[in-house]
Symmetry: C2
Subunit: 289 residues, 2 copies
């Protein structure tokens, strides 16, 4: 393979990849190469633009660390995450819709009992979250592992606050024998995705804002069911129609009820206003054995 030009290069790469042992990897890489080459030919990518691309990806790589995943942010803002989520979770009607995972999940978040306060010191108006976990057949699911993570009232996750050395506004609870879950947290706020890095500069160049509507993240695992990764959004939020990462589904938008100071769902009394939000999750049967 010598004397390759801008057209024959695509076939040349495919030929070079022909000895790969894993046919799925070869298939995926060859398709990626074909589409990447088609892109570069279609726009007649210049050498300067190619170099800007190399520099952009280098910046994305260098800002990514244990606390920040700029490649996921890039995938989210280019709509790739929503595409991949959607094509892998076409669920029967009635099941809770999935949406993007996002970059803020943390492994090993603290375990809580139902009713406990997962805010763990984060500031914001109290919010009491509750609901049921069921299968598609209506039967309750006992002991489902419910991971939740959310922003504080200023729109930041704990991992975005370098001064914080513990998990805040994130945790794991398990559904009770009647399928119910409930915990105390705080009112999530709309926020800007981290926009002080290369993805933020990209959004600016594209005339886009970095805001996401307020939401809680959930990941729910139960044996025999497909793991559900989703958000719950707040009705009336300013950014429902223009989420920077294309994550909103109308079935995931719910009314977050404001209450005047007084008796709270945990039987105590609050001197400040508080919120309740209720959402029932319906999981799909696992397609795996």
């Amino acid at each position: 393979v010598i004397d390759i030009d801008q057209w024959s290069i695509t076939r040349a790469v495919e030929l070079a990849n022909a000895r790969g042992q894993d046919s799925r990897i070869v298939h995926v890489v060859n398709a990626l190469v074909r589409h990447l080459h088609d892109f570069a030919r279609e726009v007649r990518l210049t050498e300067q633009e190619w170099f800007e691309g190399v520099r952009f990806l280098t910046q994305v790589g260098h800002i990514t660390d244990e606390r920040r995943q700029e490649f996921i942010l890039l995938s989210d803002t280019l709509g790739l995450s929503t595409l991949v989520t959607a094509q892998n979770h076409s669920k029967p009607t009635g099941c809770t819709e999935a949406t993007v995972f996002g970059p803020f999940y943390v492994e090993g978040s603290p375990q809580y009992l139902n009713g406990e306060d997962i805010a763990n010191g984060a500031q914001g108006e109290p919010c009491f979250v509750s609901g049921m976990v069921r299968g598609h057949d209506g039967r309750v699911i006992v002991g489902a592992e419910i991971s939740v993570w959310q922003s504080d009232s200023e729109g930041y996750y704990d991992v975005q606050r370098p001064e914080i050395d513990r998990h805040q506004a994130r945790g794991v609870v398990h559904s009770l024998p009647d399928g119910r879950y409930h915990f105390k947290s705080l009112l999530a706020a709309p926020y800007r995705i981290p926009h002080d890095g290369p993805v933020g500069r990209m959004l600016e160049a594209l005339g886009r804002h970095p805001w996401r509507p307020a939401h809680l993240h959930f990941m729910i695992k139960a044996e025999g069911f497909e793991t559900l990764i989703t958000h719950i959004f707040r009705e009336g939020d300013l950014y429902l129609e223009s989420d920077a990462v294309f994550g909103v589904r109308s079935s995931l938008v719910t009314h977050w009820v404001r209450h005047e100071p007084g008796r709270t769902p945990d039987g105590k009394t609050s001197d400040e206003a508080f919120y309740t939000l209720q959402y029932d999750f319906v999981l799909d049967r696992s397609t795996k054995e």
Copy 2:
């Protein structure tokens, strides 16, 4: 834009990008998004594969530093670099062909006079390089800035040897009043592109070797001419037909002549065998003002 699925997401991203001020950026990003989405739908990319992709790019970013550019290596091995080079340099017949830039160029390399030894202490058999720089009309080009960089006899560039604190086997000379250039260096060797990182693992998964045929890199700049970035390859090299980065052009392959010990082109005497290689460059008129 809510309730997006794997098909409507592409149009949704395009709509979100509609307010970008720079129409070229919007055009390039929208085309990239469309081809990226087409790819993910065509192969029905799974969430696991998406995550492996994020992890792979993170590794590429983290291994990239001042001395190593793994994104360029990735572009080279996927044929993107050759495509971009080819479509931006369709030259008139008779001009020297361009090929990929590669990841080993270093800004601020030392200036040499013609005839000097650019090896600067790197080990290997001596090699005397010479030739002419001309325009397409045959007229000699005086004072062209000729940057050259190459591997040592073990196949490593200076930047790949952490123990070396100076430039070796790279430098800049200028063509003489008669258009001629000449310098002493050493015999370049075939080498493996850096393969201890993510790109190396990718090549292995694809059943590909990481070898490149022996070559010298040249970048030649002269006022009024298009900058030429190219290589000179060695006739008979084992890897001419399977260059890991698809850079070989038959017009760039030349005979590197071996000589027994004796009188060398610089008028001295060599106790060891040495090589000469001769190549004339023909530059294209700049299309710019």
